[in-house]
């Protein structure tokens, strides 16, 4: 049984059929990536998994439990968190308070402090800026914060929505290195990316989404070698 599986998911935004019978799954310990163009439905899929967008039909199973109708704030407590598209850091709170909000569902103060320090080790820039309002951070720093914040709930599965979006290439490499490290520490990663090259280089398996449908599904290395994928997403 997969740790996370999405089965035949249909999602509508008003009249728009955003996801059409999408099925994806992630096994414990994997990095799985979803690639696809703008508007393919990647973000919608992650939002539906997290309970932010209701599913019309189909279901989302997490560790054997149907979470399709579980409200977003309860899903976090089950062990599944998300770093959303556009980062959505709490601009009016300091870096440290953002991390504290990431651990909102937890009560173990010592453990929270420990994890916060671990995040500062993983992202030393956040330590330098811990008292700063997060709205004043650079895009790359906000992205690090968004990922760190998502990890503060000690998730077993983390959804990362476009961590490379609008970030300097050098920082992107840093961030991806850290994603690998996070995964190595035992967190399953479902990674949505437009930067297919980077995503496929760290993932074990991948899905290609086009206009709300999964059109390809394979091991990452094979997807990276696939002619159609190369032409459409890897620049030739």
């Amino acid at each position: 049984m997969s740790q996370l599986s999405v089965e035949n998911l249909d999602v509508y935004y008003g009249a728009v059929h955003a996801l059409k019978g999408v099925s994806v799954h992630a096994e414990a310990g994997e990095i799985v990536t979803l690639i696809g163009a703008n508007g393919a439905g990647k973000t919608t899929l992650l939002r539906t998994i997290s309970g932010l967008v209701p599913a019309k039909s189909g279901r989302v199973m997490f560790e054997g439990r149907d979470i399709t109708r579980v409200p977003a704030h309860e899903i976090v407590a089950l062990g599944l968190s998300q770093s959303p598209e556009g980062r959505m850091v709490f601009a009016n709170l300091s870096v440290e308070d953002n991390l504290e909000m990431g651990a909102y569902i937890r009560k173990d103060k010592a453990g929270i402090r420990e994890d916060r320090d671990a995040m500062y080790q993983l992202f030393p820039r956040l330590l330098e800026r811990r008292k700063q309002l997060s709205g004043t951070l650079s895009g790359g720093e906000q992205q690090m914060l968004a990922i760190a914040r998502a990890l503060m709930s000690r998730p077993r599965v983390v959804l990362l929505d476009e961590p490379s979006l609008g970030i300097a290439p050098l920082l992107v490499r840093d961030i991806f290195k850290n994603i690998v490290e996070i995964n190595r520490r035992g967190v399953t990663v479902l990674l949505v990316e437009q930067n297919a090259h980077m995503a496929l280089s760290i993932a074990r398996r991948g899905y290609v989404l086009e206009t709300g449908k999964v059109v390809l599904e394979d091991e990452a290395a094979k997807l990276a070698a696939n002619d159609e994928v190369r032409k459409a997403y890897l620049g030739g």
Partner: protein, 300 residues
């Protein structure tokens, strides 16, 4: 000079009442982008609950500071519950509707509270018992403060300071800030946005109720429509300070109170109510985001 200082003392006291009411407007706006037009009526309910509470505690015949405190706390607590019920019954059902629906709902709730109040309490003025007999304390030659004013001032400062500590330093307070920034991101943290919203209404309502009781302590005539004008003015105060901004509401309230008292003292009491709206027009022309409000620049 002493006249001016005396006016200042009166203005700050009166302004702290506006500040307490303005806090509720600004907090609810911060979290829901809703102007809760029924908020001034909670101030009225606060005064009436205080009136009934002083009867229960037999505080009119046998007044004491302890009883006055009990009356204040009872009013704050029950008003918080009323705020919760209003939020659940009136605003929650329209939360996903266009913002105009919520605004119209707020106006509806306001009318309901005013006319419901007239029905239940009667339209005529009621007299709030004198829980604390008035004494005058001389501050310096020609400047004095009454013990009632002092109580208003002290209680307001304690409440505002408490609110600030709560919002900045507790987990729930930070969650309120998180929700005011983004409902979606907050729920991704495991924060129950619904609960935070309800809680915000409760806090705002209890502060308005405190304002109602504090005002009734010094000017004891209360009636079901007493919340309209102070409500409007506190709303202007919130806009003045920058709506959604908590320190802004306090400063806006103080500016409003001082301006009113000064206008009354130096120009004419006739212009007392007008000054609020003059201030509103000026701030909207000069600095629409309010004194503390600034367009938050977010890097993307």
């Amino acid at each position: 000079m002493s006249t001016f200082l005396q006016q200042l003392v009166n203005g700050v006291t009166w302004g702290s009442v506006y500040a307490l009411i303005a806090l509720g407007y600004t907090m609810v706006y911060g979290i829901l982008r809703l102007i809760n037009f029924a908020h001034g009526d909670i101030y009225m309910l606060g005064a009436f609950i205080g009136l009934y509470a002083s009867r229960w505690f037999n505080a009119a015949k046998d007044p004491s500071p302890v009883k006055a405190l009990l009356v204040l706390l009872t009013s704050m607590l029950l008003s918080a519950l009323i705020g919760m019920i209003i939020e659940r019954l009136a605003y929650k059902p329209v939360r996903k509707s266009p913002r105009l629906s919520a605004l119209i709902t707020a106006i509806g709730v306001s009318l309901l509270l005013e006319n419901g109040g007239a029905l239940v309490f009667g339209e005529d003025q009621k007299f709030f018992p004198q829980l604390i007999p008035q004494k005058t304390i001389a501050l310096m030659a020609g400047v004095s403060i009454s013990n009632q004013q002092l109580i208003v001032l002290v209680v307001s400062i304690v409440l505002m300071f408490g609110l600030r500590m709560f919002v900045l330093h507790t987990r729930t307070g930070k969650a309120m800030q998180a929700v005011s920034h983004s409902h979606m991101a907050a729920s991704l943290m495991g924060i129950s946005v619904d609960r935070i919203i309800t809680f915000t209404f409760m806090i705002g309502s209890s502060l308005a109720a405190a304002a109602g009781v504090l005002v009734a302590l010094q000017s004891p005539k209360i009636e079901p429509y007493m919340g309209i004008m102070p409500g409007l003015k506190a709303f202007v105060a919130a806009v003045l300070g920058g709506i959604g901004n908590i320190p802004g509401a306090v400063v806006g309230g103080l500016v409003m109170g001082i301006a009113e008292v000064m206008v009354t003292g130096y120009l004419s009491p006739t212009y007392r109510d007008a000054i609020a709206f003059v201030l509103l027009i000026v701030i909207l022309l000069v600095r629409p985001a309010g004194i503390f409000g600034k367009a938050v620049t977010e890097k993307v």
